[in-house]
Symmetry: C2
Amino acid sequence: MSLQPVLEAAADRKASYLDDLMQFLRIPSISTSPAHRSEMQRAAEWLAERMRAIGLRRVQLIGSGGHPIVYSEWLEAGPQAPTLLIYGHYDVQPTDPDHAWLSPPFEPSLRDGYLYARGASDDKGQHYTHLAAVDAFLRTHGKLPLNVKFFIEGEEESGSPQLEQVIRDAADQLRCDAVVISDGGFLNAHTPRIDTGVRGLVYMEVEVRGPQRDLHSGSYGGAVHNPLQVMVELLAKLHDDQGRVTVPGFYDRVRPISDEERQALKRIPFDAEQFRREEVGAPALWSGEAGYSVLERIGCRPTLEIHGIRGGFVDEGQKTVIPAMALAKVSMRLVPDQDPLEIARLFEQHIRRLAPPTVQVQVRTLSYADPALVDIHSPAVQAAVIAFRQGFGAEPVFARSGGTLPVVAYFVKTLGAPVVFLSYGLPDDNWHAPNERFKLDHFYRGINTSIIFMHTLATHASAG
Amino acid sequence: MSLQPVLEAAADRKASYLDDLMQFLRIPSISTSPAHRSEMQRAAEWLAERMRAIGLRRVQLIGSGGHPIVYSEWLEAGPQAPTLLIYGHYDVQPTDPDHAWLSPPFEPSLRDGYLYARGASDDKGQHYTHLAAVDAFLRTHGKLPLNVKFFIEGEEESGSPQLEQVIRDAADQLRCDAVVISDGGFLNAHTPRIDTGVRGLVYMEVEVRGPQRDLHSGSYGGAVHNPLQVMVELLAKLHDDQGRVTVPGFYDRVRPISDEERQALKRIPFDAEQFRREEVGAPALWSGEAGYSVLERIGCRPTLEIHGIRGGFVDEGQKTVIPAMALAKVSMRLVPDQDPLEIARLFEQHIRRLAPPTVQVQVRTLSYADPALVDIHSPAVQAAVIAFRQGFGAEPVFARSGGTLPVVAYFVKTLGAPVVFLSYGLPDDNWHAPNERFKLDHFYRGINTSIIFMHTLATHASAG
């Protein structure tokens, strides 16, 4: 099946694919917000309708009660051809702080070669490239060089609570030779990165309750242990002065970084000062966990972050309150072979040990996900290297992602299928932040890369 | 001038005085909220109109551009009679968290012998007792036994920024023999307290800025110093393990508690376990600053409290963000002879010294107030003792207030007038918290106590 006409068909339809994506982005599919339940349904149905229009078969919304997974397939390449499962997610992060957006998050806006909208890069714009690729194949040849199954979930930003069960229950339906995931990003503006692993996650809430009601600091200050003070003292003890997480047992199961991986990481072109200046913007990078480089800390080492502290008075002006309670949101990124539920237990024990008798403490686990590693020697990864070379004219590097995709562990464990990352995001795409964007050039090149990837994977599999 | 008919007149008009107070409480006079500016003006005008109706003269709104001070006077008792300045404030605290109110904060509600509303006890209900007392005198005798000047400000909850200047500028107009302040409370349900001092205050904001935008903790966790982590580590260092404030120089000017005061405090009936159980409700009291009793820590020692921390994600659900900034609101209660601006400077230096190079730190002083002590041997204080005995049938105790009233230092320094506290609040009136309330019995007895106080002060001054 010849490739060039497919790429030409994709080039002809750039405007149409962009228009599709903008429609998709206008639906505020925030999975963590109960108020957006009907919008989630609308996004799933919009996606299913697109799949039908492109020519995919057996389009269905599946799941076990949460936001549905949009499934579809095209299996007419025959049993000799490989089967590719394409994973993505149509849900997006919340948009706060809303005032910081230069254009409304759900009114896609084109500026300076970027498409600005919540979900543009994470992940609607990325997984849509594969739909466009399939469309280009079917328009050109009326068929695909391989079998495909789309599996686009709606709860990635909520920790994918139903996914493990759904994948287990539908293992026959989902059977495949490789899983492609486009939910990540380049190493830098010019260097594609193929993720060799993802971190796990456990997301905790810590609640500290002191007085039974908010108190006046004039009448009670000095006699009452302020829950915010207790909270900052607890949270400040979670790192030692070497940047290490102090939860006892936290590092026990961490697989040491192999010499091979350390050497590979050292070969990656990475300028810490440029990273600080262009991506982070802080006055200095954090030295973090002692003994590890920046890339090692981001990808291969576990971390602990505070995401927010609630309690007391934070509006403009002044209020001299000792709040009755304080609540903190804390997550830990995990690496093989840490077990999220064990870490949650150790964390809770640690907090309980540290908490003073002046308060009551509750610790809750909101979600968790296993870490996973990727087999870089699979045919799918080799096809991805070729696709990046041709689609972007660049040599990809291998590195672990610091992010979390619970689905990787589920696919690896349950389907036994090799996973490959084919990601087109950029480090400054503002994921999970105001002004999320996706570079238009990456959207179009991403479509080409997906076409080349499918073609290469089919050709090599047939040849092999 | 006979007292009994005045008390009878006040008794006859209880329903009317309560109705007046409820009208007053319906006006949401939140001085710290720019959105409530017109309500502030409405409250001031309502109060001025009441004063005119009662028969006070020279009613005027004075000030230098902030929320106006409501002034009025009645000086026809003659030059031989003492002149009493009555201070209060018609502004109230914000109402958040609004969901925690059992009845709306600005719809006064009578339940179980209490009047529930924002401002009921702090301070509309308290200073209104003096207006009712003046009304009862004028209705009964057509005159008062002494000269009075009302001075009711509208920026007490905002740190009274214009007050020092206004009192200095209007010193002639405000000249008096004593200042009475009703903006405090009983020691416990049965024991009136005459405050012998007030703490000063300095209210600070600390802002920590790290990355130039919110970052995804998966992609950056481990390489970027999370501003919330920096913040908790900074704030946790502000107390040592003995509960002392660590700001260098913080205690240098603190006047030691005299043996006489320590003994007086020990004579006060105070049950720490009952205080914990009935007022605080925490699992245990805080041991606080080592070496001092609870009452010493609340009244005579300086403290530092965290009132809120902003930054990151605190809504329901999960967001794995490393926020670009974190902001904390912190205040310090001060005692003689600490200087608020010096303490603000020391605090800022301390924060700057502690801050790591990974962030930018800003420290702002939002407001400040001097601490002050009261002369307990003045005729006004002696009249207050008699008034409490007769009005409440209880012997008052002397103790410093832990709260802050900047105006005390201004009156003492600028007018040279002795200050006396005549306060009718209760410890569980929920000041600065949801469900603020004022005990109706205290409102009515407060009116009587004010009548007796004015009568006693006039009689003693004439006799003396």
